[in-house]
């Protein structure tokens, strides 16, 4: 056996991580239950609570619960997989591999986006069944396109969240504590403008806040979100997402440097 030095490919590593996520999911598909139960419950709770929210309450309920499902799946799921790497002891060999860990995370985020979309689809079906018909969406094509883009904004935050799981074994617990704070701050269930003004800068630091506000402008006539309207929201979403994706590599480099200094990669 002669020694060899081969070059890794980022796309292949990302695909390998996506494939591994699918295989692990198929090996233990019981996780499907909580990831689907949560959005359905949120859908039904919001359906009940939004009854007085005017003619577009159904859209509010679907958007809110669907987004919460995808929020959880994309953000939480991406970090969770890294947490599992810690538990399995596979974080060390994966970090030691020549591929930057960022591309492994991106592969996992892709899987979480897919399963988040499935969750969103299930929410839609449940609400339609409970409400006895689909909600009125003025611009279905625009809505679908923007919906996919909002998933990208979520994924950009998911990548950064995953870095946190590499950073510390306590990330999962901290995220559990901060879960609802994040839901509030990014306005996944209600417009961020309802929150005290001083909290708005924090909310606006997250790309999904902008994306979701844009989505509401597009699907709920008369919606009162940020004063800069649909195009302003869309520009903000694009800009913040670009920033997140651009700094992701740097964040992972810094985090990797930190864990190599601390030597806590094998802790779980």
């Amino acid at each position: 056996m002669a020694t060899a030095t081969v070059q890794y490919s980022r796309a292949r590593s990302t695909y390998a991580a996506l494939r591994l996520s699918v295989l692990q999911f198929l090996a233990d598909p019981q996780w499907l239950v909580p990831s689907m139960i949560a959005p359905v419950v949120f859908a039904l709770v919001s359906f009940e609570l939004f009854r007085g929210a005017g003619p577009y309450f159904l859209t509010y309920a679907i958007l809110g619960a669907g987004m919460m499902s995808m929020w959880g799946q994309t953000l939480y799921g991406s970090g969770w997989a890294t947490g599992m790497d810690r538990e399995f002891g596979t974080l060390e060999p994966t970090i030691q591999a020549p591929t930057p860990y960022l591309y492994v995370v991106v592969g996992r985020v892709l899987w979480n986006v897919i399963s988040g979309l499935i969750g969103g689809g299930i929410v839609y079906v449940v609400i339609v069944i409970v409400a006895g018909g689909p909600p009125a969406v003025p611009n279905p094509v625009g809505f679908a396109l923007l919906f996919v883009f909002v998933m990208v904004t979520l994924a950009s935050v998911g990548v950064i969240f995953a870095a946190f799981y590499v950073y510390t074994r306590y990330a999962g617990f901290i995220q559990n504590i901060g879960e609802f704070a994040f839901y509030i701050g990014t306005g996944c269930m209600f417009p961020v403008v309802l929150l005290p003004f001083v909290t708005n800068p924090v909310s606006l630091a997250f790309p999904p806040t902008w994306g979701l506000d844009a989505l509401r402008y597009l699907s709920i006539p008369g919606y009162q979100g940020f004063g800069w309207g649909f195009w302003g929201d869309l520009a903000g979403a694009v800009a913040t997402t670009v920033v997140y994706l651009s700094v992701a590599g740097l964040v992972f480099q810094r985090v990797e440097r930190h864990v190599l200094e601390e030597g806590n990669l094998s802790e779980y």
């Binding site: 020694t3 081969v6 591994l20 295989l23 596979t90 060999p93």
Partner: protein, 328 residues
């Protein structure tokens, strides 16, 4: 600058750890895991690192394999700095940490290897062949498609090894590679290690098993409490602890006068006493061949039960002598 012929070269490597406890009154425990390691390993050879538990073997292995940063000092692997040139080094090195963890247990061995083959950029056209090849080398072909959670400890160890050599590294770090393996598998693993060296791979191996170190490693270092206490060939290490020849002298107790006479026998370079219940054992490390067994009997005329055994100084003797000396 590192020497070109060295696979590994370290200069004054130290590594400190701080562990914190408590909430209001934070208690920080400071540990110096490595205290200035200077080490040189030649290319294409097997280098053994021996040491008791907690000596710092895994810490040093992780630093050399880019998984941990040193607190101070510099380490070069294949002529490249492990901190600055980690990206260059990672495709060229393999790491086998072993144990129950470190594998995706819910999927098969083959899928584990496919995943890492992709992360290491093994060409797709070669991937399956290479996986079959390493599975065959570690004797896991038949179990290749079973979930890893169904594997025995030894099978997991073999899979760790298979992953470590999958991308044909130029240098392989093996942390206790035969731990948990049955004697047959351990022997096959040692055979595999030798064949890798024949292929030009440099092996850095940590082990607890002295016979393994003796069998595999032409050069060894003994690590104790974060320091290298000796680093040389097996023969020179034997010489360092007193010689190649050892005499074990056993009887039901020796008085001080008898111990003194043993200590001053010709050629004795090292003198150790141990008690096993009523039996006392004196171990004499011999610098020369001049002392005969009947001379020992003659020096202890009051012990008809006396037993004297002559043997070659084992690596275990060397190891214990060095570690105990460091502890003193």
């Amino acid at each position: 600058m590192p020497n070109d012929s060295s696979a590994i070269e370290t200069h004054g490597i130290t590594r400190d750890f701080d562990s914190r406890k408590g909430f209001l009154f934070r208690e920080v425990t400071h540990t110096e895991a490595l205290k200035g390691i200077d080490l040189t390993v030649e290319r294409g050879a097997i280098f053994g690192l021996l040491g008791p538990n907690g000596a710092g073997k895994t810490t040093l292995t992780k630093i050399l394999s880019t998984l941990l940063l040193p607190t101070q000092g510099q380490a070069f692997v294949l002529g490249h700095d492990v901190v600055r040139d980690a990206d260059w080094l990672r495709p060229r090195m393999g790491l086998v940490l072993g144990g129950e963890r470190g594998l995706y247990t819910r999927i098969s061995a083959r899928e584990n290897l496919r995943y890492f083959a992709d992360l290491y950029g093994i060409p797709r056209t070669d991937r399956e062949r290479r996986i079959d090849e390493v599975l065959a080398r570690v004797d896991l072909e038949e179990a290749a498609d079973r979930r890893v959670e169904e594997y025995s400890r030894g099978m997991k160890q073999k899979l760790h090894l298979a992953r470590g050599i999958l991308h044909r590294p130029q240098i392989l770090f093996l942390d206790e590679p035969t731990i948990g393996l049955d004697p047959k598998s351990a022997r096959e693993t040692r055979k595999l290690v030798r064949s890798l060296v024949a292929d030009g791979v440099t092996i850095f191996l940590t082990t607890h098993y002295m016979f393994e170190a003796e069998e595999l490693c032409p050069k060894l270092a003994v690590l104790s409490k974060g320091r290298i206490v000796a680093q040389d060939t097996v023969a020179n290490l034997r010489h360092l602890v007193g010689g190649d020849r050892t005499l074990d002298v056993e009887a039901y107790g020796f008085d001080d006068r008898e111990l003194d006479s043993l200590r001053h026998l010709p050629g004795v370079s090292r003198f150790l006493t141990e008690e096993f219940g009523p039996v006392s054992r004196v171990t004499l490390r011999m610098r020369t061949d001049e002392l005969r067994v009947d001379q020992v009997h003659a020096a202890l005329p009051n012990h008809p039960e006396l037993m004297v055994r002559e043997r070659r100084t084992s690596m275990e003797d060397v190891y214990l002598d060095l570690v105990e000396e460091e502890a003193r």
